[in-house]
């Protein structure tokens, strides 16, 4: 089990991670899924700056269910990462260092992880109630109008995942 903090303090922190490693993620991570990605990419295409800082950040592909009274957040498991495959590279170019979701990613994402020295984490699909325990805070950052698809900052402690793609260009799904 390896521990990792986001946003990264130094790029070197990712060097120790290899595909198949179990990791515990702590710190502050961002959420974004289909609609938020589309907005960010539209901004980038237009040459505008995006409304948040993604340098050294981790984006978790999720759209949580609403928080019941007395809870920080509702169910908060991963969505299928593949749908973001065509929307990820421009964000890696801006310094994004990690993504997290469920399922395989395309070959071009594997290659890009190597080029941009970024990683992809797999977490447990359908296990939003279990993963809820590791989320200690949530704050809306932008795109409120997208409801559950808005971008939130999550405070997480020991959030469990598996290294799916490492900075050396290894792919967990092919590796095994």
């Amino acid at each position: 089990m390896k521990n990792i903090y986001f946003p990264l303090k130094k790029e070197k922190d990712l060097e120790k991670l290899k595909v198949g490693d179990y990791v515990l993620i702590s710190g502050k991570i961002l959420t974004a899924r289909d609609a938020a990605h589309k907005k960010l990419i539209d901004d980038i295409k237009k040459g505008k700056s995006i409304p948040l800082n993604i340098k050294n950040a981790l984006i978790y592909y999720t759209g949580p269910s609403p928080a019941p009274p007395g809870k920080i957040v509702g169910s908060i498991g991963p969505t299928t990462s593949e749908r973001m495959d065509n929307l990820t590279i421009p964000l890696l170019k801006l310094g994004l260092k990690a993504t997290m979701g469920k399922g395989e990613r395309s070959e071009k994402i594997v290659k890009s992880c190597k080029i941009f020295k970024a990683v992809y984490f797999i977490t447990y699909g359908g296990c939003g109630a279990y993963l809820n325990q590791f989320v200690k805070g949530i704050k809306l950052l932008c795109f409120e109008e997208l409801g559950p698809e808005g971008i939130y900052e999550l405070e997480v402690i020991n959030f469990p995942a598996i290294v799916g793609i490492d900075i050396y260009g290894n792919n967990f799904y092919k590796f095994r």
């Binding site: 999720t62 509702g74 169910s75 399922g103 359908g126 296990c127 559950p148 598996i162």
Partner: protein, 279 residues
Amino acid sequence: MRKIYSDEIVEKLSETIIEINYKLPKEIKNCIKTAYMNETEKYSKKYLDIILKNIEIAEKKRIPICQDTGLTIVFVEIGMDIKIEKGKYKNLEEIINKGVEIGSKKGFLRNSIVSAIERKNTGSNTPCVIHFLLNDSNKLKFTIIAKGFGSENKSRIKMLKPSEGKKGIENFIIETVKKAGSFPCPPLFIGVGIGGSFEKAAILSKYALSRIGKEDSKYRNWEKEIIFKINKLKIGPSGFGGNITALDLKIETYPTHIAGLPVAVNLCCWAHRIGSFEI
């Protein structure tokens, strides 16, 4: 002629849509427990263990099993000897949508429904998809599925040539699961609709999902053979490899045209959230 009142339908539907999102039926849970026992791949076994913990936490701490609380699918079987007192509602469709809307709010379910092109959230988690069926009882029977879209996205339909027969059907089912790979949150429940027309096969495949864990069909042996072949793909839980890719598979058929053999394969993640009630 039995009278059935709209308020009762709304109330029962809203309770059911909440309940199914927090608690899996026993037969679904048992399939997952058996998978855990039979899985030998270590990453996959650990995932199945976390799935079982997730199910327990969802039930005890009242957090939805999955944040994708689904597109609500409703099968309504309408007895010929009933009269629905619609009250303030326009029709049965509106009554059903109201039940799901109220349940979604009360149960803190995610509003996942948007207009198809504009992608504007309806804000009510409705409309749901409703299939009306008729029978000769004096009851109204509802079967509700909260259908996750990770698996829905990987479902497929094909118009086979009649000469392709059972072999062609099998190949199409297995190819669908193989192409879906890690994406639909395996291990999977699989509904197969065979026959009818283009749309009938698709509806049958969803209906087949609603029959998982219920009484055996006359194709049970064939279903088991297909499950065996799917498991030989070694996709495994979450695509991590291993013995268990399919938890169960159900076939529903309907007579079709001499020129055709429609086949629809509806995939469902392990979190098959389903419930039913009758009034």
